[in-house]
């Protein structure tokens, strides 16, 4: 749960994404309301792009988006500096959220922070269409941009871990198999994501590494193992049974349709959750959740139904044993 915690608490999204105190308060309060297991020190997926210099538009009740992209070619990147997580853009607010959540949660729940994957950051600081053409037409030029994005993501991730985050989730929607072939993912992104995870592990061996890539994965399964994440969020188009059969050592998280939290009923969510729990009952390496994030303005009773399904599943198993 990211900014849906703000909508659950009746706080405008614009206030949530700009303020570490409010992120912390909403996360704690929402966790109390629905009894969730993780606190997310996360605002949105534009934090790094803004810190590099992109101008954003902040709607009152939606996530911010990029107004001005700053990279048109590889030469532009030479004039950009790696943002300082303690002073640039909203990065300091996210660091503040990590510190506050760690203090307030007091070990009761893990605090997970995020960075975007290098490829996704590149797709934010430059036009995604131009980026995709550059990958094919001028791969070496693109690599210089990607290298810069990797350094931004890596620097921010390490700062978040030093400030106490228990886990780092890398959101990487632009690396989705719906966007580019698995071959290009492996050529450009997989190794960089792996290095970021390795770098945060060097700071704290117990840090939880978590990867979230959107889209159907059933025909691109090596994406799951190539980045060496301990948890992988699986989007709703991927059949969970396929994932369980393949997943190797990673823990799979997912994958109820996010839209169902908005448009479905609590019965719908409960039923889907129980089906998923049944599908995955042979393994302990499964975390129930939504396919992508739980959307803004999701109904409170729908989110609660997700957690109720888990509790009921546990009670039934306890009774059987």
């Amino acid at each position: 749960m990211i900014a849906v915690t703000a909508t659950l608490c009746g706080v405008p999204v614009i206030e949530y994404v700009k303020n570490g105190d409010i992120i912390s308060q909403c996360q704690i309060e929402a966790a109390r309301i629905v009894n969730s297991d993780v606190l997310f020190a996360i605002a949105d997926l534009c934090v790094e792009a803004e810190a590099i210099g992109c101008k954003l538009i902040f709607p009152e009740n939606n996530y911010p988006h990029i107004k001005t992209r700053i990279i048109t070619g590889p030469s532009d990147i030479k004039t950009k500096k790696i943002p300082d997580p303690y002073s640039d853009g909203r990065m300091p607010e996210i660091i503040k959220a990590v510190r506050l959540l760690k203090k307030d949660a007091d070990g009761s729940r893990p605090v997970v922070a995020n960075v975007v994957g290098p490829l996704t950051l590149a797709s934010r600081i430059m036009d995604i269409e131009k980026m995709l053409y550059m990958i094919v037409d001028h791969p070496d030029q693109f690599k210089s941009i990607l290298e810069f994005c990797f350094r931004v993501s890596s620097t921010f991730a390490k700062a978040l871990v030093r400030e106490g985050a228990d886990g780092i989730i890398i959101f990487d929607p632009a690396a989705s198999p719906s966007v580019m072939p698995e071959k290009l993912f492996n050529q450009f992104e997989a190794q960089l994501v792996k290095i970021i995870f390795s770098a945060v592990k060097d700071i704290n061996q117990d840090i939880l590494t978590w990867y979230s890539v959107a889209g159907p994965l059933q025909n691109n399964l090596s994406i799951i193992t190539s980045v060496s994440a301990e948890i992988t969020t699986v989007d709703y188009p991927t059949p969970m049974k396929t994932m369980i059969d393949y997943m190797g050592y990673t823990v799979v998280n997912g994958n109820i349709k996010p839209g169902m939290f908005l448009e479905g009923s609590e019965d719908d969510i409960y039923r889907e959750a129980r089906i998923l729990l049944k599908t995955t009952e042979e393994t302990k390496r499964f975390i129930l959740g939504s396919g992508c994030e739980i959307p803004l303005f999701s109904k409170e009773e729908n989110i609660k139904a997700l957690f109720l399904a888990v509790m009921d599943e546990h009670h039934e198993k306890d009774n059987l044993s």
Partner: protein
Amino acid sequence: MNKLDELSYLVQRGENVEAVSCANKLLNNSCSVEEIVEAISRGLEVLKDKCTIENFQLLDVLLATRAMVEVVDECLAIRMQEKLDILAETYEKTRPNEQRSVIVIGTIQGDVHDLGKHIVATLCRFSNFKVVNLGKDIPAEKFVETAQAENADFIGVSSLMTVSMSNIPGIKEGLIKKGLEHIQVVGGGSAVLQSSMERLGLDYIAQDAFDGLNFFCKHSTLKN
């Protein structure tokens, strides 16, 4: 493989530079514009058959459409003086009784994802539709106003963000208020795919770019 088949293959592979070179050679060897158009369209048809919901890849489609656009822009437009309308002229010559259908297309207010919609617009242009591309973050009223002004047959609306979906039903509501319910509204994008036609006031939900194009073609043909 003859040269027209080769052109078709190059477009399908997204080999833009080679496709332009091949098209120029064909034109210099007395090939007609109509034959070139048929070959590049065939290239995209093959790609269409390869794309399924599980296998759809934006990059492949993007590269193939770029190759098509470059063949038209760099080889055909010079000869006919008009860029994309060349296809319509060619088409209308062979099917004089058919009128071009009009599609108003855009990304709904609250969402700024533009690329998928851009691809659909390009595919539709190549299939002889007149496309009015409104861009992104477009209010429902703007879709309706433009559809009325352009005497449109279809509205295509895209949404990748679930939070923006609540703005989509306003399109059908606006059409009904103005007595324009004959205009069919087609939705696409990952957020739309998670909802239903009834909830969003849509006449169809396209599973991908080609599925949307198929719907427009099918219903356009029926109209005529």
